[in-house]
Symmetry: C2
Subunit: 301 residues, 2 copies
Amino acid sequence: MDLLKRAEKALEFHFERAAGLGAPPRLVEAMRHAVFSGGARVRPQLVLSVAMACGEDAPELTDAAACAVELMHCASLVHDDMPAFDNADIRRGRPSVHKAFGEPLALLAGDALIVMAYQVLLNAGKSDPERLVALMHALSAGVGLPSGIVAGQAWECEVKADLGQYQRAKTGALFVAATCSGALCCASDAGPWATLGASLGEAYQVADDIRDVMGQAILLGKPSGQDVLHARPSAASELGLDGAMAHFQSLIELAIASIPECSYRELLQQLVRREAERLVPSAAFAEFKRQSMLAPQSMSA
Amino acid sequence: MDLLKRAEKALEFHFERAAGLGAPPRLVEAMRHAVFSGGARVRPQLVLSVAMACGEDAPELTDAAACAVELMHCASLVHDDMPAFDNADIRRGRPSVHKAFGEPLALLAGDALIVMAYQVLLNAGKSDPERLVALMHALSAGVGLPSGIVAGQAWECEVKADLGQYQRAKTGALFVAATCSGALCCASDAGPWATLGASLGEAYQVADDIRDVMGQAILLGKPSGQDVLHARPSAASELGLDGAMAHFQSLIELAIASIPECSYRELLQQLVRREAERLVPSAAFAEFKRQSMLAPQSMSA
């Protein structure tokens, strides 16, 4: 089974099991809207592929770890889209959760997805409390204080924030949780896998900054120009577009080089390269550059 | 040490340890504002007293369990106060978190407190993964789907909600988590302690409905009349004020009767009676009734 299909199937199974019976139906619907909306499932695919590289021996736990990371990601998207932050009406080409279900249910859906991430792990980890606890540590570090994605988002509310620290927390932390979880669900050492997550996560954030400038609202399925609008720290505004692109490419190379020797090394390297091309398609970037040179004023965005 | 002091001390210690170093300072400040604001600490005191009744043998884990439940409670208050729900400017006589720090940080503070609850347990449970996992199950059930406090809050967004189901989830679920956690951190059977949590939690919700009608805005330190304003299910509007008071008293009696035989039974029974009197002071209720009879139109609230 390919990794994306496996991730989708695992999400369906673990979501239903954790939701249980008798929950408020509209809350569940809002949560499903957030989770099953055609996301690329990059983080769970990372969990699965690292687990395979580490000699996966507990597939149910691996699936659960992949789901837990994705549920946290979805929770953060729901809350980030709300009027208090991006006020984004659209996510992946569909109404955002608060647009479709209202702000109260969006707030609660995010909260319930955070808890569900832990529930999914708990449900799958009964037979091996040691691995389960290690996975929960990694997941919590990726989301909470001091430097998980919630902390990353909160750096936007500080007067002064270091761009690197902000990016590492806002996006990198959950990627680190993903790669480390892949190792931990096989009782492997997570240490060698942290750099892959960190550099890939930072690359995602830089790619987001680049695309925000390129204004691919339609390609992204979400509003562009948000960084300037919200005066957020941005690699593109700090390094310039070319500088940001160079930084992005060096982060991708770092991610690729960091993958430890293992039988799946090539598969993982391909996954990273494919993602890099999906994030900032080289043809689209070249075309944007060409048009920018014809009409330099369009760079002002 | 009395239970309240022990709970406060544990919260200070476990909050700092889980926050770690390098977190965004305003986020931490917002979280501290939410947690250290003179709450009655009823839930952590329940954890501690049930643990004592069960022959507490792992005080650090007990403290952590007490903190975890309180952090979840604080997270729910932060999010419930936000404009999407109660739009409450005041909590415990001070500005609510979103009033003091803005909506973005209030949203993130709630999220981070949910994760911190798990972090606190993880930090304290290293030496006994079995107990740790049991505690995490109980905590998740008290907060998440299908019938934790987040689900309880979400019943307000449904067209049709059963009052009992709503109250059991909205408040009772975290009380059940508290009493069960007290047993679980001593590796005791949680079953005999569930009724105490459930009936006490439902009593809290009914007391809230009664006080909402009584309009003790000053006594409560938060706005009153919220149930009518938000068209929420309410025991007072469904059963009438006298019916609600009778229901409250029967729940308190049920809570007291449910406490299993143990050396701390009397202490626990006193704790419940003291809480009941704090929740709906009998003198204030009698005075309200007297005034209502003098001026029946005031009952219309």
